[in-house]
């Protein structure tokens, strides 16, 4: 049985850990709220953009943008995988990687090669061990992400699609269901299929300035970028939620441990006192 002093130091150390996990929990909670706000702030842009693209698709333009063209034969696919920069957020990243690996395996079985584009430090650390085809990477984005930080990474993949290097492009990120649940999802980014929508039936003949090609180029690139950006922002919200939950359970566990140790400590103290008394009594009797 460990002595009183050892138990006391152990309790003190667990209490320190608990303080840290509690602080992290609260920080994550407040950051999560902000990330959620940011998440909803990004919605109008891509919604509006989707509308414009829908209109343009209906406006009978003779120009077919490369992003809208489906490559009939698939020889190489691209994956954009979004992960967090920091750990201590439960199984969030591992779940993302698992679903990414599953999707990748399905392609590999068809002898399709895979190019990776990694956003976030954890993804880089994980995939650099198992894949040689990392074509673009970005990490240490912080909690407030600027779209300008993602442009280069996304452009690498978009260029690859335009040049015909890759035939499909997917995005893997976490969906923010609620605070308790984050679900990894795999989205097809390219080829882009404009949604058929009844509301779009009335169409206009647009004037394009400078011309249809230039405008569509800009529009579609920005659209894909905004989808990736949204994914990354959503992933941040997921990260914060997952961290909050992980830290909450860590704090709870620390509390339980402390309670157990406190009990052991009390028992040890009691035992020591009893022993001392019986020694004194024994000593007095001997005299």
């Amino acid at each position: 049985m460990p002595g009183e002093k050892e138990i006391r130091t152990q309790i003190a150390s667990i209490k320190n850990t608990q303080k840290i996990t509690k602080a992290m929990e609260m920080v994550a909670a407040s950051k999560m709220r902000k990330a959620q706000d940011r998440m909803s702030a990004t919605r109008p842009y891509s919604q509006k953009m989707l509308n414009v693209i829908g209109h343009l698709a209906h406006a009978r333009s003779e120009y077919k943008h490369p992003f809208l063209i489906e490559h009939p034969e698939v020889r190489r696919v691209g994956f954009i995988i979004v992960s967090t920069d920091r750990g201590l957020c439960g199984g969030l990243n591992i779940n993302t990687f698992k679903s990414a690996l599953k999707a990748m395996q399905a392609w590999q079985e068809k002898h399709v090669e895979i190019d990776l584009c990694l956003i976030g430090a954890k993804g880089t650390a994980f995939f650099k061990r198992i894949s040689d085809n990392i074509v673009a990477q970005v990490s240490n984005l912080g909690d407030t992400i600027r779209i300008s930080e993602l442009i280069g990474t996304v452009k690498t993949m978009l260029d690859a699609y335009t040049q015909g290097t890759i035939d499909r492009l997917f995005l893997v990120e976490n969906e923010f269901v609620n605070t308790m649940t984050q679900r990894p999802k795999v989205l097809t980014l390219l080829p882009l299929v404009p949604e058929e929508n009844d509301a779009l039936q009335h169409h206009w003949d647009y004037i394009y300035e400078p011309d249809a090609k230039a405008v569509l180029d800009e529009l579609l690139t920005r659209y894909i970028e905004s989808i990736v950006y949204q994914g990354v922002v959503e992933n941040v919200a997921c990260e914060m939620a997952a961290r909050m939950i992980a830290m909450k359970s860590a704090s709870d566990n620390a509390g339980e441990l402390i309670a157990e140790l406190q009990l052991a400590y009390n028992k040890a103290r009691q035992a020591a006192i009893t022993q001392e008394i019986s020694e004194i009594v024994g000593g007095a009797a001997a005299v």
């Binding site: 940011r38 702030a41 990004t42 109008p44 842009y45 891509s46 509006k48 953009m49 509308n51 414009v52 209109h55 343009l56 584009c117 990694l118 880089t124 650390a125 650099k128 061990r129 040689d132 990392i134 074509v135 673009a136 990477q137 970005v138 990490s139 600027r146 779209i147 300008s148 442009i151 280069g152 990474t153 452009k155 690498t156 260029d159 206009w204 003949d205 647009y206 004037i207 394009y208 300035e209 400078p210 230039a214 405008v215 800009e218 529009l219 920005r222 970028e225 905004s226 950006y229």
Partner: protein
């Protein structure tokens, strides 16, 4: 009733403006355009510049856009504003950077990144400890 049109200005990061206005003036790529209600449908890209919004009975509002897309439908105008400064060669440089980072990440596959970071922190902690010990000695 005065003729009005609905204007939405959004960027990828947030919604900037939404409301009923009487006219919009935008810096389009081929020259500035003024949009009044019932303008013919138009899609154009924007260059960086000032977006002037006229609302009846109110002072004109000015917004800065660093490029983007302007879409005009008969009664709805949408400005998809960029937040980043865009240029073809600037984007290209960013793409190259992203590729470079990927190569760097692959290169130090053997030297584990986390291990290296931990080691650096260990060295710093040891240095701090030594400092504290020295200070204690001096005090005695």
């Amino acid at each position: 009733m005065a003729m009005t049109l609905h204007l939405d200005v959004v960027s990828a990061e947030k919604e900037i403006f939404s409301g009923t206005v009487s006219a919009v003036f935008a810096p389009a790529k081929m020259g500035d355009v003024g949009i009044y209600p019932r303008h013919t449908p138009l899609v154009t890209s924007l260059r960086p510049g000032e977006l002037k919004i006229e609302v009846e009975g109110q002072e004109d509002q000015y917004l800065y856009v660093s490029g983007g897309i302007l879409e005009v439908q008969p009664h709805v105008v949408t400005v998809l504003s960029d937040t980043a400064i865009r240029a073809e060669d600037l984007d290209e440089a960013k793409a190259l950077e992203a590729k470079q980072r990927a190569e760097d990440a692959l290169k130090d596959r053997k030297g584990d990144l986390d291990a290296a970071k931990a080691q650096a922190e260990l060295v710093r902690a040891a240095e701090q400890l030594r400092m504290i010990q020295r200070m204690r000695k001096q005090r005695r």
